[in-house]
Symmetry: D2
């Protein structure tokens, strides 16, 4: 297996040259475009690693999965779906072309930026508690107590996040989010700055695939939560290329603009990938090549069922 991972990394390394490291957050642009890290955790909990699997990076949009879990735990799924949709979208992750149309009452889904800001606003607690609970959930799921957040990236996001700020003020204006906009944004920028490595990401994938065991979710059972999260990830996890990715890869996955991919592999398995060179949708270029190859070689697509 480890040989296979090494081989797949090498076969896809050329892709790092074709993409571009995110540069709209200055602190992200410092990443090494050629880095590739990969971790696959199998059913029996064997951890297979390859490449720079020790590199830490901020998880960015992958944090939206954590906040979605917390918001469902706090409010029940129905209340969350009062505020965000379950619709795919053909708009980029950070677009608000649609959001201001008169017939649009909520963001398309919880995994685009606007939807994720709403989800963060639904987590119970003040700003301090909210973020504490997000990072505690990250520690619980990954079983890694050393997870923290990167203050440089957080400050950089906060200073340059005028697009997310615009989106939040628009949603405040439309009554989609309540409360202090700047406080919600602060939590959002912090959650994006949580740092992990690919082993942590693969653990999140395996945790969801395995049934979200150990979470206290008042309104639905943990198996239903798993099915729901897998569905949302498959339908919406890769921004506006979610449909194509679902068809071609078939693994419920969330990407982040730092170059991370967190894959929920059927049958209690998980994948974590890191490679910061991105395609135009904001997804890791080599990461996509690698997970596609893994899906084919190891029959990981849910459409094999």
């Amino acid at each position: 297996m480890d040989q296979l991972l090494n081989k797949i990394i090498e076969e896809n390394r050329y892709l790092t040259e074709l993409g571009k490291v995110a540069d709209y957050i200055p602190a992200l642009s410092k990443a090494n475009a050629n880095d590739i890290g990969l971790c696959f955790i199998d059913k029996e909990d064997n951890i297979h690693k390859s490449g720079c699997h020790n590199s830490k990076f901020t998880i960015q949009s992958i944090s939206k999965v954590l906040t979605l879990i917390l918001a469902i735990m706090d409010n029940g799924i129905d209340k969350v779906l009062d505020k965000v949709g379950l619709e795919g979208t053909d708009e980029p992750f950070n677009s608000f072309v649609k959001l201001d149309l008169p017939n649009i009452k909520k963001p398309a889904n919880p995994l685009i930026n606007s939807g994720a800001i709403v989800v963060t606003s639904l987590i119970k607690g003040d700003d301090f508690i909210r973020f504490q609970r997000i990072i505690d959930l990250a520690k619980f799921i990954t079983n890694n107590n050393e997870i923290g957040f990167n203050e440089d990236v957080y400050n950089s996001e906060k200073a340059t996040g005028s697009r997310n700020r615009a989106m939040a003020y628009l949603m405040s204006n439309k009554g989609i989010i309540d409360g202090d906009v700047e406080g919600i944004l602060d939590t959002y920028f912090k959650q994006c700055s949580i740092e992990m490595d690919v082993v942590d990401l693969a653990r999140i994938g395996k945790f969801i695939s395995g049934g979200c065991k150990g979470l206290q979710v008042p309104t639905i059972n943990n198996n239903e939560l798993t099915i729901l999260l897998k569905g949302i990830l498959l339908a919406c996890g890769m921004y506006d290329s979610s449909s194509r990715y679902a068809i071609e890869v078939g693994i419920p996955t969330k990407s982040g603009v730092s170059g991370g991919l967190m894959g929920v592999v059927p049958a209690n398995r998980g994948i974590g990938i890191y490679s910061p060179s991105l395609d135009t949708h904001g997804n890791s270029m080599a990461g996509l090549g690698i997970i596609k190859a893994l899906s084919r070689k190891l029959n990981l697509s849910i459409f094999n069922c």
Copy 2:
């Protein structure tokens, strides 16, 4: 099992009152809004039927799956994807708001009307041969040689199909379809008018789930075709409610405005449903309730994997 089917039908019958039979094709509007037919074919090929399972109806958009298979057989998947995308869309099935945007080079996917008209244009043969091949494929897959098409519905569609006609002329103008627009439309209106019952639909679902056995597909193997079709159906099969349906039901499915649902159930199984009262997206209202209930009761969602 048959008792379960009966029970689920009864529990969802009230939904037929909440929807509306399609009225934009006069011949369709004559359908009995309260009809519900259901067929489930299991792994061992047992056929479970309930309700008015003998009713015949035109398959409408479900025919898009047949033409997609033929177009892939004739051209290979790559050439088909030169002409239609694999993107989800938040526009209705018959919209062309997007199609005329300067940066849009092809329809979003092969299962919205514009994409399906393109797919039909890619099938080899003249107009007569094209339709012959579509209906022959229908007979082959369902193993039912009596399948024909409804001439009244066909004439009604042809006389009132100004929206599809507009779409086809726009695509001709943009160079997306070649050849005689009226001839392509004629085939398209005919394929929509093919008549089946729910057993035939369930057979199509089981055929795809079971690996598309017996088809000669030059460029990909039949298992890859199966994975591809299941992916496309899950991502795009239910028009603009595809994402929500994928998450909530998890069965690759195609709907038609006559009220049919054709479900590709994991593990070599198939579902056919007929109930002509529709929701605002053009999907069968009671059909949705029934397939959702079946998915939960029998754990049919692919997200159970």
Copy 3:
């Protein structure tokens, strides 16, 4: 004056190199890109001509002014405005991005293609009579009985008009136009193919400026018709660059993709220009430079009032 016209033509001749002759109608693409013809008719009916003022060309969209006058004569202004708006638009002349939005009930205005097709459908008479009446009006206004239409251009438009055809079928589908779509389109393609020279165009401009004398308009007086036409031309006459043109030139004007410009100059004057090299909006490139220069040199802008 004649010297001034010659000088302005020469100063703007370089612009013919920067634009492009319309090529989507094959018969139009044969025009000589460097031709410039100009005619200014003053208050006292002196005709000032310069350049190739004898060249004949099809009037294309300028015909929309003639059909608008007929439709108002036949139906009254209120009935016409039931079917087309008086709104500016930022979409190109032949777009239908907007036309399919659910909240859009009619084309933005009578001078974009979709609106003009509706206007043609409102003229009384069968297809033969309709066109006869349009060309009779052209003869009356220009006082030129030799005006006819170019059969080559008409056939070329008809054969390649799939975009206008698409638009008409969509409007038929939405109930905006009644009657035989192909017949209405036939009249529309014919009216676009009416041939004139710049003197004829200037006469149309002067006719409108001078109060539309001699027309029988049942519902409004001729002076009100003049004010209305001037307003519509200023607000909508130059497609999606109407606002900028209104501000910079200030002369109610209609352009055509053959390169014609018909200007309604305040105080009973008219301008006709022909130069077939177009900008990206479909307006004559040198024509725009010339009329802007004329407006400044001779204080022709209505904003001088």
Copy 4:
């Protein structure tokens, strides 16, 4: 004349019942829906007043004309047009559906909210100086040294202006505005809160009509500035109903959501109207009826030229 004004007010008073006072700024919602004030200043500087012409109100969007003049004085027209367009728009005044489209580089025109925020950012000076210069210009033009701003309305706008705030952050993100977003917004909210009566508004209209005498405009002469302002007002002054208004009324006008109308009447005349009950475009309902009646009765439309 005064009798005519009284009569026209009475004939249009019923319209105050059909509209709605702006309620999105709490301090505005306190206005008396039935108030109507009217002032017409003629060529010879006779001031004709009727209704509650002493009522003071905040000028809201009418302030955009003042800031546009200052921005042109400070930067020249070309630099201003680098940052805002001269295009009409069919979107509401406060929309940003368009603003986030990839091909849109600047707001449509200087009189919609997004464009006006940009214009404010172009005025030279720090935040304090900027506002000082705006109010000084208001005093100069109206020859009224007592003009001030309403601190309650300003505070109310600032507290509830999340839509304008969103728009400004989006434009900051897109590089359309430079500098401190909150400071620019503060000036913008203040300029909207400048208080006047209808006589002051009519003086602004007459000032522009009369040639903007006394202003020091480095790059164009004052007559050109007048022509430019009249063109921009006619094409863009009434939000998305500008075209219809231009055609039906023909007076370059700017409206504000407090219910003010400032009309630039040809031949050195001006109109000021106040009536806070608004139509769905945000224009004064009775105000529209009154100015339309005045235009017809007194032949004020520029299309009479």
